[in-house]
Symmetry: C2
Subunit: 461 residues, 2 copies
């Protein structure tokens, strides 16, 4: 049986005590069994509903379940992301799914209307978190923490309107890595970009590029082009749409919807359609008007430094200085970045996986305990307990008298590599038959040697 080796028993008990609900009863009360859950499902499915006869069983709009197959993928992705965050020395943190409503207001600009509020059921007014950044800021402020490098993987909720058609879900998972504190400029930012590169390379999604910009440069551009300061936010959010809309359409929005003078929009257009490497940073330094703007100069200086560090990290060629990058939220004030894939994986959405002849295993079962005979449940139960207690991942059929063929088919379908078979013959001889599902070879092994033999085979494969 697995043990927690790291801490001695007493310390462990204290730590655990801090996490569990105190009085007596342990938190694991919800290990259910078949009949009752099946009945609950049946009740949901079958119950005649007089008043609500057209009730449809579905997930809420814009949300979805993750199937076991999708869960395997998500687990691999999150493992890779979290191990990268840990490689960079980040601590873990978790915050509640909802915050005081007041905490979230005025943090997201135009997007504030997309926050899910909880119903006023007496007590505090609450909202579901919209990102992991504001809760982190709240944590820092509440605990008077001045300096912290933390990661946080968790769900956030946004009442997006177009939702799934455009691939936006109302519930989705964010993976945040933040370095909070006062440091010398651009060293933490360079590390954040290094992290993005490591994760995107590790995920093997094909070529990517990370766009970089600075809100101060954008503000500088708006200022020298003649945007009134009251319109900076609105114009910024128009610029942010350049990854989805043409400049023509964005210009139209600025002029027609946001009341910007056409010539001001055109001047903005000359800038925000530029992108390039560190040479573009240098070029902007030479720009006669931009170089007169204090804010823009600060931003450009930081970007120059950033590119120097990125070169030392060996990732400068993955980074593009892109003047159209604006990012939607109000809380960005300095350097901003966003990764894009350079080619969309072909037909990623539709193609079924077995096109590749590969099967995703949704369980990790290593050994199946089977019998060819009736009335062998007791022997199977004793045997499988031995395997579990040795840490071997094992399953059996929940039937008194399953058919051998059914048992073997299950192993093939589920990709279980080994079967142990016990029947009258084996019981008489004090052996167990060990069968390889792939080769169908069977060997008889004495009961005492079974666990060791299984572990040997598993470690070899």
């Amino acid at each position: 049986m697995p043990q927690l080796g790291l801490l001695h028993g007493r310390a462990w008990a204290v730590l655990f005590g801090q996490l569990r609900r105190p009085p007596g009863a342990v938190c694991i009360r919800a290990v259910h069994s078949h009949s009752q859950v099946a009945e609950a499902a049946l009740a949901t499915q079958m119950k005649p509903r007089q008043e609500k006869s057209n009730f449809i069983i579905k997930t809420p709009k814009g949300t979805r379940d993750l199937s076991p197959q999708q869960m395997v993928v998500r687990e691999k992705i999150l493992d890779m992301v979290v191990s990268c965050f840990k490689r960079h020395g980040a601590k873990g943190l978790d915050t509640p799914a909802f915050e005081l409503k007041e905490m979230l207001t005025e943090k997201y600009g135009e997007d504030s209307g997309l926050i899910y509020d909880l119903k006023d059921q007496g007590g505090e007014l609450l909202s579901l978190r919209y990102d992991l950044t504001v809760p982190f800021a709240r944590y820092l402020a509440m605990n008077k923490v001045k300096k912290m490098k933390r990661y946080h993987v968790g769900k956030v909720w946004r009442r997006e309107s177009p939702t799934i058609v455009q691939g936006r879900y109302r519930e989705f998972c964010q993976c945040d890595f933040d370095i909070a504190g006062q440091f010398d400029p651009m060293i933490p930012d360079a590390e954040c970009l290094k992290i993005m590169c490591e994760i995107l390379s590790g995920l093997q999604l094909g070529d990517f590029l990370i766009k970089v910009n600075d809100r101060r440069i954008l503000d500088g551009i708006f200022a020298i082009c003649g945007v009134p300061e009251s319109k900076f936010h609105a114009i910024c959010s128009s610029v942010d749409k350049l990854d989805k809309m043409s400049w023509k359409d964005v210009r139209h929005e600025m002029v027609a919807k946001k009341g910007l003078a056409a010539e001001v929009a055109d001047r903005i257009g000359d800038y925000v359609q530029c992108h390039g490497g560190v040479s573009l940073v240098k070029q902007m330094f030479q720009d006669p008007r931009l170089s007169q703007n204090k804010q823009a100069l600060e931003g450009l200086g930081d970007l120059k430094l950033l590119f120097e560090y990125l070169t030392l990290f060996g990732i400068a060629e993955k980074i593009s200085f892109d003047l159209s990058l604006a990012r939607g939220l109000d809380y960005y004030t300095g350097v901003i970045y966003e990764a894009v894939l350079l080619q969309t994986p072909a037909h990623a959405e539709e193609e079924p996986l077995n096109t590749f002849g590969e099967k995703i295993r949704t369980t990790e079962t290593q050994v199946f305990v089977a019998t060819p005979q009736n009335n062998f449940l007791q022997e199977r139960l004793k045997l499988i307990a031995e395997l579990w207690d040795a840490g071997i991942k094992a399953e059996l059929m929940y039937k008194n008298n399953p058919k051998l063929l059914t048992q073997l088919h299950y192993c093939e379908n589920m990709g279980i590599p080994l079967v142990v078979i016990i029947g009258e013959q084996e019981l008489k001889e004090g052996v167990i038959k060990l069968r390889s599902v792939a080769s169908r070879e069977e060997v008889a092994i004495t009961r005492e040697n079974l666990v060791a033999e299984i572990q040997k085979r598993l470690s070899e494969s």
Copy 2:
């Protein structure tokens, strides 16, 4: 750099495509940097709020953040729990945090008032999930799945009133393992109990006992004692309180609040104060009145079978047939179980961890990159990128010119075992100094051999 070895690139891209938000941009856009988050925190902390001058920075009532130290513990616990679930062949599943309100109503009996509803912001009426069982039942019904063994670890939300005082949070994590489907009786239930034993033993919390009962036996007792059928649920929920209240108080509730005749309550008391092993099951079979009740007989028959299987699993002595166990929720109809610790870990809540002279590391950093000299940032950045790319967990100070002592103190405080030091001397000689934080020993190592030497030392420790 770590790679995902299991699937070839194309299949991986397809899988990933099914998970990510489709058009172009990748989901990892939220890798933030220091200055902006710090500012957001500062804004939250400092912003003068005219109208809301008494605004307090806190988490909502009944919720809490998990600090890095608590996260380390939670991660260990969940790793152990999930690996046990996988050892028993369960598939993963995830469902949204909220469900259609209608889906949750009528599922929880008396507790329904504790469901968090979302505000009606147009569209569907939604509620936060109250457990993971009803969403699982919804998943089965929606996808017409008849048979599934799945685990689900996730948060649930309940508007409990007494909240933290009694150790109940309004947001807490549930770890569910369910076997849904039609099988021969008690085989899946026996496995669920085996799982509880494996997890509780693995967590090393001290001695525990798992109470077992059957709702049909309880209903049978109520029937033969003379409880009107309309009061079964109410009386059942009174019985459920016997783990927190004395029989005297529970009896009072039954009689005074729920209108039960005193002699009926007394008859119930004779039964529900019994507990024991399989011998109590056999004794109840002999009970002249209970053995006349069809429902109770079915429950007793199943418990007898269950104990037989538990004996084969080697865990019968951990299980107690406890007639007072009722469990709160309406969806239980058959066998029910609940684990209790036999002694509360002493002072688990108050005792600070360092009583044991043990320090919980909140990061996994293996190597710190330090310098004794000014103007060595560039060399440090080049060096640390080499370590990261070799998969080594490494940190440095985000300062142009940190003091050596500050850097070494940081390593001692954070429990980082190794330091690599680069200065003028080392640069000239083409070496790096490798220092053990514990022994303070330093050796010079050529740059080419550094990664290999670090990996050797880490694998030895």
